[in-house]
């Protein structure tokens, strides 16, 4: 828990001192140690889009970050650490931009045929034009007394205009965060797209190999972990030496709700991961009232979960503070594994009232029930955020399961994975363009992410078995 504090602090610092670069940016930088000059409320900024040929994504040359020496004269050479940070930022920004597929990234070996920029305004437009770039991205990083000073600039090659320019300063604790921030801001400014570069994943893992000793058989524990969306900075959140699973992010990213068996029965715990506050148990819970598989309402105020408190698994809704408990379903079959629609007006869940687990949708007041899957076995529905209106789920397609997506408007089903191992527990990225899921295609159970069309599968975890990923908002 303590290790996550610097990261959070870095984010705060970073957010505090972003300035917009206009023209020759470096000269506007305040001297280290002095507060930045007040920024106008609305920086005067002419939107210069990087455009490609008609029907083609813009072609972007991403150059390597320039490591600047930290002496004011600029005559020296940057130290090894700064060079390593520059290299990290280059790779992270490249991957972040590639992830959303909004730009065509000109291959690195082609980019390297143009002499590398040595400063933020060192743009050889003629040479970039020769290799067919629509835009060129240049970054610099310099160590300061307090941490890092990072500049990122994007220029339109044809018009030779500056399309994007930002300066960031903050701690050196997590250099990746600067590149993630720049990527998100580039996507928002250039493509009106909410990027996910600063989002996180939470999941359960048995990587520690700890076991609960028992008289019958040793039982492998699972603890809750979190990681950046690209798998970097993986950290353990819980230390219960027991079974914990099915973590879900709160809407503000400060708490994770999950199911833990630490009391001898499943119950929902709410861990405030950036504080030392003890976890809360909003669903109550007792030897005779077990609670599991919580999911947040879109507005972050309530949880919907499964409980056996009335005799068999039914769905309940409770406020995050434990008040206003309401029962949502009433059927002798099991009703479980809920997910809220993005507007909060409907809930999809799994029931085996037909004889096998299938996905149903009801209005948030419990009325209007309808069945939406007709699979041999369907589980873990997860409703996409807007603008898409889809419900992803895992379907038994053979010996294992595959991820499918139900399009609510058309009632069409498309399949995203095709029998490579078993594929389960889908969770949408907050922009709806990607899904995290678990797969056994590489041997053990691992968390992976893919595009909403099923392409670009990336492995996120590699150690131990990893389960039930959930993407932050």
């Amino acid at each position: 828990m303590r290790t996550s504090l610097p990261c959070f602090a870095a984010a705060a610092v970073l957010a505090g001192t972003v300035s917009v670069l206009a023209g020759s940016a470096a000269r506007q930088t305040p001297p280290p140690g002095q507060p930045p000059p007040p920024q106008p409320q609305q920086p005067r900024e002419v939107f210069v889009p990087i455009v490609g040929d008609i029907g083609a994504p813009p072609r972007l040359a991403v150059t390597e970050f320039v490591a600047l020496p930290n002496d004011a004269g600029g005559s020296g050479v940057a130290d090894k650490e700064t060079q390593a940070i520059a290299q990290t930022m280059t790779e992270v920004l490249w991957e972040d931009l590639r992830f959303e597929r909004e730009f065509y990234l000109i291959p690195r070996d082609v980019v390297r045929t143009v002499p590398a920029p040595r400063a933020i305004d060192d743009v050889r437009f003629d040479r970039w034009r020769e290799i067919g770039a629509d835009g060129v991205l240049i970054g610099t990083v310099r160590k300061t007394a307090n941490g890092l000073l990072v500049q990122v600039r994007m220029a339109a090659v044809r018009s030779k205009e500056s399309a994007f320019g930002k300066e960031y300063s903050g701690t050196a604790a997590n250099p990746r965060l600067y590149a993630h921030t720049a990527a998100d801001e580039i996507h928002m400014q250039q493509r009106r797209l909410r990027g996910v570069a600063r989002t996180k994943l939470t999941f359960a893992s048995d990587r520690d190999g700890e076991r609960i000793p028992g008289p019958i058989e040793a039982r492998t524990i699972k603890e809750i972990y979190l990681a950046d969306y690209d798998g970097a900075n993986q950290r353990r959140v819980t230390v219960t030496r027991g079974l914990n699973n099915f973590p879900v992010w709160s809407s503000d990213g400060r708490a994770i709700a999950y199911t833990s068996w630490r009391q001898g029965y499943p119950n929902i715990f709410l861990s405030f991961i950036y504080t030392t506050a003890p976890p809360a148990t909003p669903a109550g819970g007792s030897v005779r009232a077990h609670n599991w598989l919580a999911v947040w309402s879109p507005d972050g105020t309530r949880l919907v979960f499964t409980s056996n408190r009335d005799g068999n698994p039914e769905l309940y809704v409770v406020n995050a503070d434990g008040s206003n408990l309401r029962r949502m379903t009433n059927h002798s079959a099991a009703d479980t594994t809920p997910t809220w629609s993005p507007t909060g007006t409907q809930i999809a869940f799994v029931s085996d009232r037909s004889g096998s687990p299938q996905v149903y949708v009801m209005d948030a007041d419990g009325t209007g029930l309808r069945r939406i899957t007709f699979e041999s076995y369907a589980d873990r529905p997860t409703w996409s955020p807007a603008p898409f209106n889809e419900i992803a789920y895992s379907s038994r397609t053979g010996p294992g399961h595959d991820i499918k997506v139900y399009e609510v408007a058309t009632q069409r089903v498309k399949q995203l994975t095709f029998g490579e191992g078993t594929n389960e527990s889908p969770s949408f990225a907050p922009n709806g363009r990607h899904l995290a899921f678990t797969t056994t295609r590489w041997g053990r159970v691992q968390v992976a992410v893919m595009g909403r069309d099923g392409n670009d599968v990336r492995q996120i975890t590699k150690i131990g078995n990893n389960y039930a990923p959930n993407w932050s908002h």
């Binding site: 008289p215 099915f246 598989l293 076995y377 895992s394 527990s425």
Partner: protein, 197 residues
């Protein structure tokens, strides 16, 4: 009209079970879970002195001489770990995607009911477990239903409802981690743990 006669039925069942164990090969492997043999002198279940019995319990129970449960002193001196390692409580196994207690399961539960009658202070947690083929999420509901099925049957034959708790572990704690039919059969179970004595 068949009235369930608790004691004689369970005796037959006990005998049948013993025999099934001796006959070893015909039935699915008994649970993995017994690394430690019974201490010498303990009247454990696997005394090789019983005649073989029919493989399935029959409808009409034939009274037989009672199989003595271990004397009170044999078990009361043990701690919970020792009791659970060599437990007199039998697991119940289930079919694929099923939570139905079959005849073999009922026989095991009849044995358990008898033990619980004998050890009237034991508190039991019935764990519901699943094989790895279902999804982790739904298996929590399936494990719940398996534990509940076992509990409901136990209560129906006079088991002590107030001392029978349940918990579902879904597919989280397999007894046999292999990816085989044999392992899956072992992992679809209601498992009995003595949690207080």
């Amino acid at each position: 009209m068949h009235t369930r006669q608790f004691a004689p039925t369970s005796l037959v069942v006990l005998t049948v079970l013993m025999a099934a164990w001796l006959g070893a090969c015909a039935k699915p492997q008994p649970p993995v879970a017994r690394p430690t043999p019974s201490p010498p002198g303990t009247a454990g279940p696997a005394q090789p002195t019983r005649p073989p019995a029919p493989p399935e319990p029959v409808a009409e129970p034939v009274p037989v001489p009672p199989e003595p449960l271990p004397a009170e002193g044999d078990l009361s001196g043990r701690n919970l770990d020792e009791l659970n390692r060599d437990s007199p409580l039998q697991p119940v196994f289930f079919g694929y995607d099923s939570s139905e207690v079959d005849a073999t399961g009922r026989a095991a539960l009849d044995v358990n009911a008898q033990a619980l009658r004998r050890y009237s202070t034991w508190v039991i947690t019935i764990e519901g477990h699943c094989d790895e083929r279902g999804t982790a999420e739904y298996n929590l509901a399936l494990g719940e239903r398996r534990a509940l099925s076992a509990r409901n049957y136990l209560v129906s034959v006079g088991g002590p409802a107030d001392r029978l708790r349940i918990v579902s572990y879904g597919k989280e704690f397999p007894f046999d981690p292999a990816h085989t039919e044999e392992a899956w059969a072992k992992n679809r179970r209601a498992h009995f743990v003595i949690t207080a004595k």
